[in-house]
């Protein structure tokens, strides 16, 4: 007997601050104006996607002491955009990255509870952490945390937020006009939390929202990140785009759930994935090559090398060979506020490997960055891409994808028009929303239906 087909969860990441986004294309519109977000969200909803995803950054990136100017710079406030998008969509989930380092649980909890009310149960929170004093310079509390405390604060932040969400059961507002009783419980929202990072008490002032709690997403694939996700997240963002890596990650994370008393379907694995479509596979390959050249200009290639070398390489020719000097292993000062910096944990080894590969293939600096940089995960005709995505999900390498188009805001249009119908024909993607909340779309239980053992340990 064959296994029943898994339903594919699809989401869309609004393209923004990174060199995936091609801003120089004549089709590229604003990444700030609301009309762009509305177009993108409506496309995602037309394609019956589970949710839209917004990233966050709290300080503009720098290179060599100057604001980085080669990628899209700037973005709007996450909560505000999501609340406005709730007005122009009906079903689409609204997921925002919100940092647990530069915020306080009471405020974030009331923002997410408010967003959940205002969207009729479509809010999700991607919990991220930071230990970055550079970003902290924009905040009163400074925000610097020793690295070993980042997950400890994040865990306690999430646990505290959950205590606040749970401080209203959901039946307190009776609004009985005749009897004059608005609340049936004067203690509604009462909470006390005395922990290592937060020492707070009082009454939460947002009654329980349609989803009870927002859906919780977690990114990060370190050991601690995987464990954090297994303990309390509803979905995890990953970046494994090959089948084997995807399967290994999927198996590892799903296996961790049991130790928290959770079933394997209580955490969805959703890798971020780029894509390039063409009428034929060959045309898509050709287009993908062009896109990569647009994503990595000569100047971008040099700057990218500087993440690893931690040195000013502006004198190098992007069309010439790699530098023969070694990276500076001191404190990273050249590039700040960039996630990529943290990707290269052993710069000497990375530099050595890149020099060898470039020499062996006769690659210039720019060639090297294009070849080693993030590739489009899915390149091909709509039929090829639909088949590849389906194979990936059915082989348990993921539960779906968060698609990252390279054009704002129309980069999702062709996918919605041409790939989604093929997935629907295969019976692996919904043709209508089954429910109204994001939990419904993701097949997640309402938190009030969970057993106590499923709750996050605080």
């Amino acid at each position: 007997m064959s296994k029943p087909l898994k339903q594919i969860h699809l989401a869309a990441h609004f393209p923004g601050v990174n060199n995936t986004t091609v801003w120089s294309d004549p089709e590229a519109g604003s990444h700030i104006e609301f009309s762009s977000f509305a177009h993108f969200a409506r496309t995602a909803e037309r394609a019956r996607f589970d949710f839209l995803f917004l990233a966050e950054g709290l300080r503009l990136r720098e290179q060599g002491g100057h604001i980085y100017d080669l990628d899209v710079v700037g973005r709007p406030d996450t909560f505000t955009v999501l609340a406005a998008l709730a007005a122009v969509t009906e079903h689409l989930g609204l997921t925002g990255t919100i940092n647990s380092t530069f915020n306080e649980p009471y405020e974030v909890a009331r923002q997410f509870a408010s967003l959940d009310h205002l969207s009729g149960g479509r809010a999700a929170w991607n919990v991220v952490t930071s230990w970055d004093a550079f970003t902290g310079e924009n905040f009163r509390r400074g925000g610097f945390l020793p690295q070993e405390e980042r997950y400890s604060r994040a865990k306690e932040f999430l646990a505290t937020a959950n205590e606040l969400f749970d401080s209203w059961r959901g039946d307190e507002v009776v609004a009985d006009r005749a009897g004059g009783t608005f609340l049936n419980d004067a203690k509604a929202g009462a909470f006390v939390h005395h922990g290592q990072h937060f020492d707070i008490e009082g009454q939460f002032n947002v009654p329980r929202s349609p989803q009870g709690r927002p859906v919780i997403f977690q990114a990060g694939d370190s050991e601690e990140g995987r464990e954090f996700a297994a303990s309390g997240a509803d979905a995890i963002f990953s970046r494994y785009s090959t089948l084997k890596e995807g399967q290994a990650f999927y198996t590892d994370v799903k296996a961790r759930l049991a130790r928290y008393g959770r079933r394997s379907d209580q955490l969805l694995i959703l890798p971020a994935a780029t894509f390039v479509l063409g009428d034929t596979d060959a045309e898509a390959e050709e287009h993908a090559r062009e896109v990569r050249r647009l994503q990595v200009s000569g100047a971008t290639a040099i700057k990218h090398l500087e993440f690893v070398w931690n040195r000013d390489l502006s004198a190098y020719d992007p069309d010439g060979p790699l530098p023969d000097i070694d990276p500076d292993l001191g404190e990273h000062t050249v590039a700040r506020g960039r996630a990529q910096v943290r990707m290269y944990r052993d710069p000497l080894a990375t530099a050595r490997e890149w020099r060898e590969r470039a020499a062996a293939n006769k690659w210039s600096i720019r060639d090297l960055v294009i070849e080693t940089g993030s590739r489009q995960a899915f390149v091909g005709s709509p039929a090829t891409v639909a088949a590849t995505i389906n194979d990936f999900v059915q082989a348990d390498a993921s539960d779906g994808f968060i698609l990252v188009p390279h054009i704002t805001p129309g980069g999702l249009d062709t996918f919605a028009d041409k790939v989604v119908p093929l997935l629907q024909e295969r019976g692996v993607h919904r043709t209508e929303y089954e429910g109204t909340t994001l939990r419904d779309h993701l097949g997640l239980a309402h938190p009030d239906a969970r057993t106590p053992a499923d709750r996050v340990a605080s």
């Binding site: 801003w23 120089s24 700030i32 609301f34 509305a38 950054g57 503009l60 100057h66 604001i67 100017d69 080669l70 990628d71 899209v72 710079v73 700037g74 973005r75 709007p76 406030d77 909560f79 505000t80 609340a83 406005a84 709730a86 007005a87 122009v88 530069f102 306080e104 009471y106 405020e107 408010s114 967003l115 009310h117 205002l118 969207s119 009729g120 310079e137 924009n138 905040f139 009163r140 209203w168 507002v173 609004a175 006009r177 004059g180 608005f182 609340l183 004067a186 509604a188 937060f198 020492d199 707070i200 008490e201 009082g202 009454q203 002032n205 947002v206 009654p207 200009s297 000569g298 971008t300």
Partner: protein
């Protein structure tokens, strides 16, 4: 009667079912829907039908209370609310002309977050955002954050030296907060995004600026992550009842809400704000001073009076507050507003006692009455809130190119 006076500005202050604590019990109220988007959309749409300049949305970081300084544990009044900035963003795409002004609490929030949130509200409303900045001395709200403790503070403490010190400190912090928010709005020049394909540069980084704000209270580096909003500077407003907050209005705001009980008091308050404004070097800038009034409006004055008495009886005591309570007809209210405007108020923020009744009474009763007298607009004359308030697009303090 026609007149050459400058037209009045009118705003409405939205809070739950209305400003009277028993408002939610009126048949016209929708107490079970106060946390829904549809409720807020209906209110703001109604206000826009009435051509009002803007709505404000109340907020606080703790449950509502009949006590000005601490929780009251009551269950017979509306308790629970949503974040005002998010309500504002949720309704912005549903409206086209009306300004939207949520409340934010400066005492416990981060100016960096609020600056980008209000800038983004300006984007999602295409130039109709403002903000009302408020401080809080409530100990219970401080305990929700756990980052600072505030001394006990009751209304009786207000006039004591310790009370004055606390109030002054909270408002000076709020002034710092507004300064940071404003600098962040200016931290991108309007034309910073260049998309220069020849050089591969998306922005001209010389047009982005660190704000380097330092005070004894906090420091913020900048620039904002959000480009300068459509209005350049969204409207900053604050409610003020005494000299210390008047100073905040005069130094830092575009608009202050004050609570005079007669024309003489209105004149004195306006004069005090103008004096502070001049002292702050802003004598030539437009700072609107709006009078706040709670209103019970009915075509028959006796009906308004009876409604007020009925609600007071339900609440168990007569409703009082900081602002004057007006009870009467739209024509009588028009008379009062025109009289107060002679004293120097440029507009009014009306607080509907019962939103479901008094908001439509404002838009369908008061507004036509004022229009008949030539004292209120007959169509929206601008697409931005600054435009409605007669304010021009402000120069960027950091602009390096003229």
């Amino acid at each position: 009667m026609s007149s050459s006076r400058s037209p009045l500005h009118l705003a409405v202050a939205l809070d739950g079912a209305g400003w009277h604590p028993a408002a939610w019990r009126e048949p016209v109220s929708r107490p079970g829907e106060l946390l829904t988007a549809a409720y807020w959309a209906d209110l703001v749409t109604e206000a826009e039908h009435g051509l009002l300049d803007f709505v404000t949305i109340e907020d606080a970081l703790g449950l509502q209370s009949s006590s000005p300084t601490e929780p009251d544990g009551r269950t017979d009044q509306v308790r629970g609310r949503l974040d005002a900035v998010l309500i504002a963003a949720r309704i912005a795409p549903l409206t086209r002309h009306i300004g939207i002004v949520p409340t934010v609490v400066a005492t416990h929030t981060e100016p960096f977050h609020i600056s980008k949130a209000i800038a983004t509200l300006d984007y999602v409303s295409t130039g109709r955002a403002g903000v009302r900045v408020q401080v809080t001395a409530r100990q219970n709200e401080a305990a929700h954050f756990g980052r600072r403790t505030l001394p006990p503070f009751r209304i009786e403490d207000y006039r004591t030296p310790a009370g004055q010190e606390l109030v002054t400190d909270l408002f000076e912090e709020a002034a710092d907060y507004v300064e940071v928010v404003r600098r962040l709005w200016d931290s991108w020049e309007d034309d910073a995004e260049i998309r220069d394909i020849a050089t591969g540069r998306f922005i001209d980084r010389d047009k982005l600026h660190y704000i380097d704000f330092e005070s004894g209270r906090f420091s913020v580096k900048g620039p904002s992550i959000t480009p300068r909003p459509p209005q350049g500077q969204p409207i900053v407003s604050a409610l003020a009842h005494a000299t210390v907050p008047y100073r905040l209005v005069a130094r830092a705001a575009d608009l202050g809400y004050v609570t005079p009980h007669d024309a003489e008091q209105a004149r004195a308050i306006v004069e005090e704000i103008r004096t502070e404004q001049t002292a702050a070097g802003r004598g030539d800038e437009t700072v609107h001073v709006f009078g706040d009034l709670v209103v019970f409006l009915d075509d028959d004055p006796a009906a308004a009076e009876a409604r007020r008495e009925r609600l007071d009886a339900l609440a168990g005591h007569p409703y009082t507050g900081d602002a004057r309570i007006f009870t009467g007809t739209p024509a009588e209210l028009a008379d009062l507003l025109l009289e107060l405007s002679e004293a120097g108020l440029s507009g009014f923020r009306l607080r509907p006692a019962v939103v479901g009744h008094d908001l439509p009474a404002i838009t369908r009763g008061l507004v036509p009455e004022l229009q008949r007298r030539g004292a209120f607009r007959r169509a929206y004359e601008a697409d931005t809130l600054r435009g409605l308030l007669g304010l021009t697009h402000p120069a960027n303090r950091y602009a390096t190119t003229a």
